[in-house]
């Protein structure tokens, strides 16, 4: 069993009063690709490093399978890690880099060579085995780092932003490669990134963290569809969800004098001021004369099939930014005003005071 379990795992740096990771409860299933995501400083890397044994666990525990690894040194945890900067050993060749862990584990020379060869084939690194890391491109280095992890056949892969040093195009292609590789190897993986797109595309499940506190763990789609709170709602999705403060009145939300229909059950759960969350694609542009939220267009981003209209809506006197996805090539003009509305099912309702989701 190589599920990974965080049980009230906490990391408090000496001299600090707020924990970097606060009582993290998280279970990662056997063979699962778990992505930890959040803005910088949210504790996602620390959580991963606690699992790897690079950070001390102040309280709580971490288990890999049925083993309590909370206080084990990294080498006894049977994990492999891919670092942001790859952390390749500069004085060793690619082959030596990949074989290092096996050598440390006392694996025989021949088996080492065989396993390195196998992993190299898997990652298309055959031609570079005798090179030093300095002589490799960024993408190749990244693959060597992956190879070094794979060769060990660990129980868990830990990956700390392994793609952030690649250029945008390579990042996208490597993303899918890693996901495919992980699926093929079936090794439980914990993957840290600050990029929510990466998280959404790669993770079986995604854990969103903020200020050391776990906000929500779920599949990417569930996170998108049912963000548990305002933070997740704003963080997941690109462009981000439109968040507009409003008042609830008889099953409707009123925003700047315009009515927006909301889910009844959600509305019933509300006790105070709320924030409405509407994905850009959930807005509909309505014609002149129909009631809708007026949006003054400031920018139109044409993507061909679609277009995003950025604008401001004068709500409560202060303009708030709104993004609306519209079909491509419709030709909304900068400076013009459009009116938008949406369906009640598409409106997420959040409690202003707690930030919590009100929809069921």
């Amino acid at each position: 069993m190589t599920a990974v379990t965080y049980e009230k795992a906490q990391r408090l740096y000496p001299g600090s009063t707020t924990p970097a990771v606060d009582a993290l409860d998280l279970e990662i299933r056997d063979g699962e690709f778990m992505v930890l995501v959040g803005p910088s400083g949210c504790g996602k890397s620390t959580s991963l490093r606690m699992l790897a044994g690079l950070e001390e666990v102040t309280s709580g525990s971490i288990r890999i399978g049925d083993r309590d690894v909370t206080h084990l040194p990294p080498k006894d945890r049977d994990i492999a890690m891919v670092f942001q900067n790859y952390a390749l050993y500069p004085h060793m060749t690619v082959a030596e880099n990949m074989a290092f862990a096996l050598k440390m584990a006392g694996v025989g020379k021949e088996e080492r060579a065989a396993r390195v060869k196998e992993a190299a084939a898997l990652l298309d690194l055959d031609a570079y085995l005798d090179r030093k890391p300095k002589a490799l491109s960024g993408g190749q280095r990244q693959r060597v780092a992956m190879g070094r992890a794979i060769v060990r056949q660990p129980q868990v892969f830990c990956m700390d932003e392994p793609l952030s040093n690649l250029d945008a195009k390579l990042r996208v292609s490597t993303r899918t490669q890693i996901a495919a590789l992980q699926q093929r190897l079936g090794i439980t993986t914990v993957y840290v990134t600050h990029d929510q797109v990466e998280a959404m595309t790669m993770g079986d499940r995604v854990a969103v963290l903020k200020d050391g506190v776990l906000q929500q763990v779920d599949t990417p789609l569930a996170l998108y569809d049912k963000p548990a709170n305002l933070f997740v709602a704003g963080f997941i999705g690109s462009p981000a969800m439109n968040l507009i403060e409003g008042e609830l009145r008889e099953g409707h939300a009123v925003v700047g004098g315009h009515e927006i229909p909301v889910d009844r059950a959600a509305a019933a759960a509300a006790t105070g001021p709320v924030t409405l969350g509407v994905r850009p694609e959930a807005f509909r542009v309505v014609g002149e004369g129909q009631d809708g939220l007026p949006v003054k267009v400031t920018l139109v981003e044409e993507l061909g099939a679609d277009a995003y209209v950025y604008g401001t809506s004068g709500v409560e006197g202060t303009p708030s930014n709104v993004v609306v996805r519209v079909p491509g090539q419709v030709g909304h003009q900068k400076g013009s005003t459009i009116r938008v509305t949406t369906d009640p099912t598409a409106v997420h309702l959040f409690d202003n005071a707690t930030g919590r989701r009100l929809n069921p």
Binding site: D30, R67, D68, R115
Partner: protein, 333 residues
């Protein structure tokens, strides 16, 4: 679920394969035995783990040597400085040795000369700094100069002192050169007005290459785009140096200051000993030389120990003061 092509995990019969659904954490399999034991022992973090002990072992030899051969002697010396010399050998004399020092004109001169060294410090830093700037600007022949300038650094101070003794003798080559350009010869080492400056000068000659190289390394780290920006802003050379290079080099300058100071306060003994022996008339004494003569020639080891303690305290004070000053100065800029 896909099985890996890799290694032993693919063996269907391997109980260690964690991917067998519902696989019992079998106490019968080797890895689990291991994990079981580990798990039991790891509830609390053990006190003496490898990674906690080894750091101490790594620093142990260095710390041991420094303590045994520097700190212990220092404490012994401190103790010794309160005992007497000659007939009073070994007897406790309190602060007598320190009083003797206070009254000794030679020791006072030595302390005054330390002050002189501190005054010369900015010069000793500025010269290599300036030269490094020129080298950085690639004046013709800069490669050659860079090699040549460092060269005295590798020579023993004792040898340098002996050579300069001859070069700076009254009828020596230095004065012959002065004579040719119509300047009155100078008794470089025999006139108490000049002697200390001469020795300081030779010390700078002998060591500026070191600071120069450090400066050059600092220059190499200066962001070229900052220089370009300064140029496009129309800054002249002086402004560029003042507003771009110096702030960029603050760490290097700090380092050079500290190392040059340590060099001046601890490394001039060889030169002094050979070039002037403290003369003329005691004008070029430094505490180190004073300690040496009291210990040897004058056979007063306890007094020498007292002087050692004064020098040590002085080094501490100057060292700390300088670090603080530099920290403040670099923060302001």
């Amino acid at each position: 679920m896909n099985t890996s092509r890799l290694g032993t995990r693919t063996d269907a019969g391997d109980p260690g394969s964690a991917r067998v659904p519902g696989g019992t954490p079998g106490a019968t399999t080797p890895p689990s035995t291991r994990t079981g034991q580990r798990a039991a022992g790891s509830g609390r973090r053990p006190r003496w783990t490898e990674d906690r002990v080894v750091p101490y072992l790594l620093v142990l030899p260095a710390v041991l040597i420094v303590v045994l051969l520097r700190i212990v002697p220092l404490v012994m010396g401190a103790n010794f400085s309160f005992t007497g010399d000659g007939d009073a050998n070994g007897a406790w004399v309190g602060l007598d040795n320190y009083r003797t020092l206070w009254d000794d004109e030679v020791f006072r001169t030595a302390m005054k000369n330390v002050g002189l060294l501190l005054l010369a410090l900015p010069v000793a830093v500025a010269i290599p700094g300036l030269l490094a700037t020129f080298l950085f600007l690639k004046v013709p022949g800069y490669r050659l100069y860079r090699s040549v300038y460092f060269f005295p650094v590798v020579l023993s101070p004792v040898i340098i002192g002996a050579i300069f003794n001859v070069v700076l003798s009254f009828d020596g080559p230095a004065n012959q050169l002065l004579e040719k350009v119509g300047i009155e010869p100078i008794d470089w080492l025999g006139d108490s007005t000049y002697a200390m400056f001469t020795v300081i000068g030779v010390h700078i000659w002998a060591t500026f290459g070191m600071a120069l190289v450090i400066f050059m390394a600092g220059f190499a780290t200066v962001d070229q785009s900052l220089l370009d920006a300064a140029r496009s802003d129309g800054a002249n050379l002086r402004q560029t140096v003042w507003h771009v290079i110096i702030p960029e080099l603050s760490q290097t300058i700090q380092f050079v200051f500290v190392t040059t100071m340590i060099g001046m306060l601890t490394g001039m003994f060889g030169l002094l000993y050979i070039m002037t022996g403290g003369g003329p008339g005691g004008a070029t004494y430094l505490p180190e030389l004073y300690i040496w003569t009291q210990q040897g020639q004058m056979n007063r080891p306890a007094l020498a120990s007292a002087a050692s303690m004064v020098l040590f305290v002085l080094m501490l004070v100057v060292g700390f003061a300088q670090l603080r000053l530099l920290k403040r100065a670099t923060k302001e800029s």
